[in-house]
């Protein structure tokens, strides 16, 4: 499996288990066509897989069949290397974390009691449960002393959602299922919760399956994205990079919406691209020597650094000519981005500063180089090329292979990943 496109740093060890849906169908009684039609889906251990698609296409049904909240009509579900299709549903669900919109907390129990539900059922002793509750509250960025004894109604929506995640993780299940977990919070909180989920995932490395309406959320969170259409038919199962660069067909293109290029920019960090170098001088030097350096390097600007190598000014030839010695007075509105910023953020900064470029800083704001619009364009082109070149990945098909993912369709040079693994 090519992981080059999935460039998320992984610090912890994978504690997740893989999930396989094998030819799973759900036919609700009294409906003419199945809500989920013969889905075969391989969810790799320790990855985040996003299920997206239009309303009513069967995302929730697919998700709930994994923990058998909805019993499949046909097919098998394999967790790790264990067939869990016929084990007790309650027992299975104790091993799979489940988070719904707004957390689904029990209003009559305190935060601590909510989180302790599964450990209690598993018969942990009191001390161990109390320690685990505090540990989890820390993990989801809530101060245990402050929040442990509160009731859900005494929390904000975002905090309730965090407690929901903590509760789902309580007994350290290998798998976490989330159904539109951030659907009920405002956009700013949603973004914060998404960032938090990513950093939690870095630590815990679970296998996480998330249903979402929001394609941008899928791109941001997913290692892999499944695009469904009516009847949970898989239109494309791919990395976010590749779905953006090579949508399988017009349906996916439509679903991505406009600005696929811009969305790709949110996938790459400034630190991942090659920066242009710049002429640097230090505060206190004579302007004349700065001009000389600049001419030797055939540049039109110099970056003035302070004594701790932090950029303070960015001067053009004309500005330099008017100066005597260089000071370390910080320039107003200096376009600076950190190396952790996305290319999208960098582009924003450039556009605001109207410089067509921005200064990049690393740890402790030390100057690293310059990022330009050209760098960003090159990065998009490179991302497209590498996305197109990477093939292979987990299996995702429906039993009656349908024309939308025909292996010889022009756009699917590398997208017919199902074929790569079909044996």
């Amino acid at each position: 499996m090519s992981e080059s496109a999935v460039s998320r740093p992984s610090t912890g060890t994978i504690s997740g288990k893989s999930i396989v849906l094998d030819n799973v169908t759900k036919q609700y009684p009294g409906q003419s066509s199945p809500a989920v039609d013969g889905v075969t889906l391989e969810i790799p251990a320790g990855k985040i897989v996003m299920l997206v698609g239009p309303s009513g296409c069967g995302k929730t049904t697919t998700l709930k069949m994994i923990n058998r909240l909805i019993e499949p009509t046909k097919g098998r579900i394999v967790l790790g290397d264990e067939d869990v299709t016929s084990i007790g549903g309650d027992e299975l669900r104790r091993r799979i974390g489940y988070v719904i919109q707004a957390g689904g907390l029990f209003p009559h129990m305190t935060v601590a009691a909510n989180i302790a539900i599964v450990p209690k059922m598993l018969g942990w002793d009191k001390g161990r449960i109390a320690a685990r509750v505090d540990e989890l509250l820390e993990l989801v960025s809530l101060d245990p002393a402050q929040y442990r004894d509160r009731f859900p109604k005494e929390l904000s929506g975002g905090q309730q959602q965090r407690v929901g995640v903590a509760r789902a993780l309580a007994a350290d299940p290998p798998v976490l299922l989330m159904d539109e977990p951030f659907g009920a919070v405002d956009p700013i909180t949603r973004q914060r919760l998404q960032d938090e989920l990513l950093s939690i995932q870095e630590e815990v490395q679970k296998t996480i399956v998330i249903v979402t309406h929001d394609f941008d959320e899928a791109v941001k969170l997913g290692d892999w994205i499944v695009v469904f259409t009516e009847g949970a038919r898989i239109v494309q199962y791919d990395t976010p990079e590749r779905i953006l660069a090579e949508p399988a067909n017009a349906f996916v293109e439509n679903f991505i919406g406009s600005g696929a290029g811009l969305k790709q920019l949110t996938l790459r960090r400034v630190g991942e691209v090659t920066l242009a170098d710049a002429v640097t001088v230090h505060a206190g030097e004579a302007a004349a020597s700065a001009i000389e350096k600049m001419e030797r390097a055939d540049h039109n600007h110099v970056v003035v650094l302070d004594d701790r190598e932090r950029p303070v000014q960015w001067l053009s030839r004309r500005q330099l000519a008017r100066l005597d010695t260089l000071t370390d007075v910080p320039e107003d509105k200096l376009p600076v981005v950190g190396q952790g910023a996305t290319l999208n953020d960098a582009l924003d900064t450039m556009l605001v500063s109207s410089a067509g470029a921005a200064l990049v800083t690393g740890r402790r704001d030390v100057f690293l180089g310059v990022i330009t619009v050209e760098t960003v364009m090159d990065a998009i082109t490179a991302a497209r090329a590498s996305a197109a070149a990477s093939i292979g990945g987990p299996v995702g098909t429906n039993s009656d292979a349908i024309p939308t993912v025909a292996p010889d369709a022009p756009t699917s040079a590398g997208s017919s990943m199902s074929q790569a693994h079909d044996d």
Partner: protein
Amino acid sequence: MADFLGSRFDQIAFASWQHLSLVVQCLLLATAIAIAVAAVVYRSRPLSSVANTVTAIGLTIPAFALVGLLVAPFGFGVPPALAVVTFFAILPILRNAIVGLTGINQSVVESARGLGMSRSSIFLRVELPLAWPVILGGIRVSAQMVMGIAAIAAYVLGPGLGGFIFSGLSRLGGANSLESVLTGVIGVVVLALLLDLLLVGLGRLTTPRGIRV
């Protein structure tokens, strides 16, 4: 009046105590039965509406008639009184229990299932506590209602304050007849207020802070 009360204080106190005891015991029994019935029917819409219809019809049955009819199977004394009072006590509690249990936010129940809780532990640890304030509301209504109904028990020679009312009414105009009726009626009202106060206190103690309004 004061003479009447003074001379019969022990008798009145004993009857009041018996009255209250009958009502409280019937309420406990009725609560248990109502919750058990609600537990069986609340997940099914048709069964719930059958139960609701039965409670509505049940409330229209004249208590007086029912208690008389029950003499045949139960004989005189405590048993028919207990049966009638419990029957009427069940009705408001059952109604509220069904309302309370079906009114629970389904996402809470779904997340309980998602955590792997069994059906019975969801009922006992999630649904029942959440429906409890509503059920308790039913118990309060029930308590008020059956406090009066329990007075009819005297008709079948059952215990309680009803005896004062019946004996007073049967010789109305005679000595102390009005005092006797008033003693019974006022006793019932005072007991009802007292019990309601107790139930409010019970509500305070048994409703978790998270769902208090």
